[in-house]
């Protein structure tokens, strides 16, 4: 078995037993990247020198007999909308092609303190707007299971990196499904924690009230380890919630007897690929066999989630992205006549079509005379959607659904019609509107492409989700199946 095939918790043991050094591990993952990156294109920037230096520091600590944390020396990747001091951070946008942040995002400092080794920055849909990574301003990332297919998005680079063994774990961001949907498409574990659990400081904002950072991992155990490292109240983020931080690994219990899980009928309706439905039904059977009570429930306002999301998210984005104007940093168009011309040319040339579409949608929704009909109405519907979940959680410990209506689709399949593309997040959007935690894990395959199982929890109910997902993982082998790419099996 090659090093890139191991999980973080396995590699941690190898490091502790001194069977490998962090430097060796780091080098071997770069080797893997050299083998597969040509096809996958998960990364926008590689930071080899910095990574090797970090790995050597971990080796020094090991040699000095110091104790190291579970992520020390573990090679990982960061979505390129997380600010990294001194390392180019682009959001996969031409408008930030040369932006080098003077500061680290809170999660980046936290991982750095843990000794995790950053390999590089991964590709995404520009400003995290998209579901296929086709909207990257630089190049698309390919699905390691089938390079003709998209890896999902917007955190497609992070998902593909973990799936292909180009990173042991990764961080992404999830505004409407941007961690869970690519995790599903790439067959890895992806989690969006409760809004406010992970500090957003240093995450380049798309939609502030929906954005949340979360992990991609090869299994549920690694997912819990990364959560331990990145969660917690941060004084730099006023929306980060104050709560006692649990040890997420304490929820890795192989037992869900008596757990009540709801199946929202609206998530199993028209639009769901029948082959995906069949895979999900088999997964439901597995959980029932392990003692869970599973029954149908309803989230009646589900059909309003997509229109609500596509008012609130673009509205916030139109304001968040206003700062990219060519005045202070990033791309600036040449030969402008005056300041207005400079703004308009910079933004016309610097932003891609999807970003422009959403800026216009959001600007319209917030405009005088339309605000009440769109933005204000959307806020009200958002409350109704939240209440749907509250009502369901009076009865259930978790809600189960497919992560996406279909497996990974082919390049270009949905690029002509934005609405079709938006529908690939139909099962994940509402979770962000309600601020809830959600996890996606691989529960089977259709035509050699992974299918994601989504579990949605109560606010701060990450533990319950981890326990169900862990029990499912212990009862199945799907998470051990890796795509055939490069010389070996990842």
């Amino acid at each position: 078995m090659e090093l890139y095939e191991f999980t973080a918790h396995q590699l941690h043991n190898l490091l502790l037993q001194r069977k490998i050094s962090a430097e060796e591990l780091c080098t071997s993952i770069y080797q893997r990247i050299a083998e597969t990156e040509e096809v996958v294109k998960a990364y926008l920037t590689l930071t080899r020198d910095q990574a090797l230096a970090q790995a050597r520091r971990v080796d020094q600590r090991l040699r000095a007999g110091e104790t190291i944390g579970p992520l020390a020396g573990i090679p990982m990747a960061l979505k390129d909308n997380l600010c990294t001091k001194g390392v180019r951070t682009t959001c996969a946008s031409k408008i930030l092609f040369n932006f080098i942040p003077p500061y680290d995002a809170t999660v980046v400092s936290k991982l750095d303190r843990e000794g995790a080794v950053m390999l590089g920055k991964t590709n995404l849909d520009e400003f995290a707007m998209g579901s296929s990574t086709e909207n990257s301003g630089f190049y698309p990332t390919h699905n390691p299971w089938n390079p003709d297919c998209v890896p999902g998005g917007s955190s497609g680079g992070s998902a593909a990196a973990v799936a292909s063994g180009e990173a042991i774990f990764a961080l992404g961001s999830d505004t409407g499904g941007s961690i869970r949907q690519p995790a599903a498409f790439c067959g890895v574990v992806g989690m969006k924690p409760t809004y406010g659990t992970v500090s957003r400081y240093g995450l380049i904002a798309f939609a502030s009230s929906l954005d949340q950072i979360g992990p991609f991992a090869k299994d549920v155990t690694d997912c819990a380890l990364v959560l331990n490292a990145i969660c917690g109240r941060d004084s730099m983020d006023s929306t980060s919630v104050i709560h006692e931080l649990p040890d997420y690994t304490s929820f890795l219990v192989d037992d869900i007897k008596g757990f009540k899980i709801g199946l929202p009928k609206e998530y199993f309706a028209e639009g769901l690929d029948s082959r995906v439905r069949a895979v999900i039904e088999r997964a439901i059977k597995v959980l029932e066999d392990r003692g869970a009570h599973i029954e149908e429930t309803t989230l009646p306002h589900t059909r309003y989630a997509l229109p609500t999301y596509y008012i609130i998210a673009p509205a916030e984005a139109s304001s968040n992205l206003a700062r990219y104007d060519g005045v202070r940093y990033g791309f600036r168009a040449e030969d402008a006549k005056d300041i207005i011309d400079m703004y308009s040319r910079t933004r016309s040339l610097g932003f891609g079509n999807e970003v422009k579409r959403r800026i216009m949608l959001g600007t319209y929704a917030l405009s005088a005379g339309y605000y009440d009909a769109y933005y204000n109405k959307a806020l009200k519907v958002r409350t109704l959607i939240k209440r749907d979940f509250e009502r369901a959680f009076e009865k259930f410990d978790a809600i189960l659904s497919p992560t996406a209506p279909s497996p990974a689709f082919r390049f270009g399949e949905k690029t002509d019609d934005p609405l079709t593309m938006y529908l690939s997040d139909i099962y994940t959007l509402a979770v962000n509107l309600a601020g809830l935690p959600g996890i996606s894990q691989c529960c089977g395959f259709v035509d050699g492409l992974p299918v994601g199982l989504q579990l949605i929890g109560r606010p701060l109910g990450e533990g319950t989700l981890l326990r169900i997902a862990y029990t499912f993982e212990q009862s199945t082998e799907h998470h051990r199946v890796r795509p055939r790419i490069g010389k070996g099996v990842a």
């Binding site: 909308n81 997380l82 600010c83 951070t89 959001c91 930030l96 932006f99 942040p101 003077p102 500061y103 995002a105 957003r200 400081y201 240093g202 995450l203 380049i204 904002a205 939609a207 502030s208 009230s209 004084s235 730099m236 983020d237 006023s238 929306t239 509205a315 916030e316 139109s318 304001s319 206003a322 700062r323 990219y324 104007d325 005045v327 202070r328 940093y329 300041i339 703004y343 600007t363 917030l366 405009s367 005088a368 605000y371 933005y375």
Partner: protein, 481 residues
């Protein structure tokens, strides 16, 4: 104005004197090399988030209470979206529909007596940066931006349209400035931009209750400018209406040099700010106990201080209002009283000589060129007869320009009052002898002649003779004749 009356409302921006900015820990210090008082947060770099400075909310509550406002139990920040290079995020974090404080008032003295001016709202927001142009904004090939001021906390205070003359507007702004200075949350220096004022102006036929179309006037950088701009704009609007025209709703800027207001943009060109709740900041929940705690810390405000001066010190209401018009002057007055407890004498000196010299030299009382203790020493020297009241004024001028102690000046210049009887009687006799006609006039009952003779004694002693004694000895010597 004849058959017209003006309706004026003011929007005032006040910079708060916190140590750090409203949403980050950068310093608020005035000046500094360009872009040195900045951090990723106030520069609006990608990925940063605002964190509310609690002190700003506290100061806002303080001003709200001082202006008799209700304090919101539930308030929030909103984003005001517009593009300008001095605004790094291209939106300003401000407050829209749920301001921190609302529904207050302050009182001014106007021609018609005491008048209440309503305060519609007090809200918090962040300041923008400063553009520096090479030459003029029209000709400059490029401009520089200094973000030091970006994120400095501001309060915006909006009045009701309750004022009907430039004088009332000035009185309102002076009173507002005094109240805020009393609370200690701002310097309120118009010349440094820590107090800024825009005005909404309209005119209507006298007696009408309907409001006319208003214009907004910007760029008035002094109290004088405010009065002049309003007077001009009211006259302009009346002229337009009398010529059968219509007022266009627009924003106009005051051109100080030409003494006119000039159209900046019409209502059609007005920005749509697309306000929406700031998603990066949770709403503010303000507990009544916090409000009460702030209320307890409120210092004595001008109105109360004025009443105290009248009741406890027996000052006239006019004197009391002048002395309390700024906190610095009132503090100076009371500090002086602590050394020399005669309110009327001190009041006369502070409002007279001191105010005159401050005005003439354009020095602020806070600079205290003569300290209250020094003024008190001077007054004691008069009481002890060391110098006359007249010489004291000369000494005070010297104190004002040199900062020296009165005693030292008196010694250096030999200004000690002559009270020695033998010495004075000698001069008096000499003067009587040299002016027999005046002496005869006095004896004939012409009191005025005595004044002339006193003057002659003073002249001979170069003003140092004790005037009381001179009077006494002159009368005695004259009756002996």
């Amino acid at each position: 104005m004849g058959k017209w009356e003006a309706v004026i409302g003011l929007e005032v921006h006040v910079e708060l004197k916190t140590n750090s900015k409203i949403f980050c820990s950068s310093t608020t210090e005035f000046g500094g090399d360009p872009n040195t008082h900045v951090c990723p947060v106030c520069l609006g770099l990608p990925g940063v988030l605002p964190v509310t400075n609690k002190k700003v909310v506290e100061y806002g509550i303080k001003v709200g209470l001082a202006l008799n406002c209700e304090i919101a139990r539930f308030s929030k920040f909103d984003r005001k979206n517009y593009y300008y290079p001095d605004l790094p995020k291209n939106y300003q974090i401000s407050q829209y529909d749920l301001p921190l404080a609302y529904n207050g008032y302050l009182e001014i003295e106007s021609e018609a007596g005491r008048k209440r001016v309503g305060i519609v709202r007090v809200h918090m927001e962040e300041d923008a940066g400063k553009l520096i142009h090479e030459g003029t904004i029209a000709s400059t090939p490029y401009s520089y931006v200094d973000y030091n001021r970006t994120g400095v906390p501001l309060l915006e205070i909006v009045s009701s349209p309750d004022m009907d003359s430039p004088e009332e507007a000035k009185a309102y702004l002076e009173k507002l400035k005094a109240i805020i200075q009393y609370t200690g949350v701002s310097d309120c220096k118009m010349e440094e931009g820590s107090l800024r004022c825009d005005a909404n102006v309209s005119v209507r036929p006298k007696g009408s209750t309907e409001l006319g179309t208003k214009t907004e006037i910007k760029n008035m950088n002094s109290f004088r400018a405010l009065q002049k701009a309003l007077a001009y704009e009211i006259q302009r609007q009346i002229q337009v209406l009398e010529d059968g025209g219509r007022i266009v709703q627009e924003t106009r800027t005051w051109d100080e040099e030409r003494g006119v207001t000039v159209s900046m943009r019409s209502k059609e060109e007005a920005h749509d700010y697309r306000y929406f709740p700031e998603p990066d900041l949770p709403p503010l929940v303000i507990s009544p106990s916090w409000v009460e705690a702030v209320r307890r810390e409120l210092p004595e405000l001008p109105e109360a201080r004025q009443r105290r001066y009248v009741n406890d010190f027996g000052l006239s209401s006019y004197d009391a209002s002048v002395l309390t018009s700024t906190k610095e002057m009132a503090d100076y007055f009371e500090e002086c009283l602590s050394f020399y407890p005669q309110p009327k004498v001190v009041a006369n000196w502070v409002m007279g000589e001191l105010a005159r010299l401050l005005n003439a030299t354009n020095i602020d009382i806070s600079a205290r060129p003569v300290t209250p203790r020094q003024l008190a020493s001077l007054l004691e020297l008069i009481d002890r007869g060391v110098i006359s009241g007249k010489i004291a004024k000369t000494v005070f001028e010297e104190m004002f320009s040199t900062g020296k102690e009165p005693q030292q000046i008196i010694e250096e210049k030999g200004l000690v009052q002559i009270s020695d009887e033998a010495e004075l009687r000698a001069v008096v006799r000499r003067v009587i002898a040299a002016n027999p006609k005046s002496a005869a006039d006095f004896k004939a009952g012409k009191e005025k002649a005595l004044g002339f003779l006193v003057g002659q004694v003073m002249k001979e002693t170069r003003g140092k003779a004790n005037p009381g004694l001179v009077n006494e000895y002159l009368r005695e010597e004259l009756t002996k004749l």
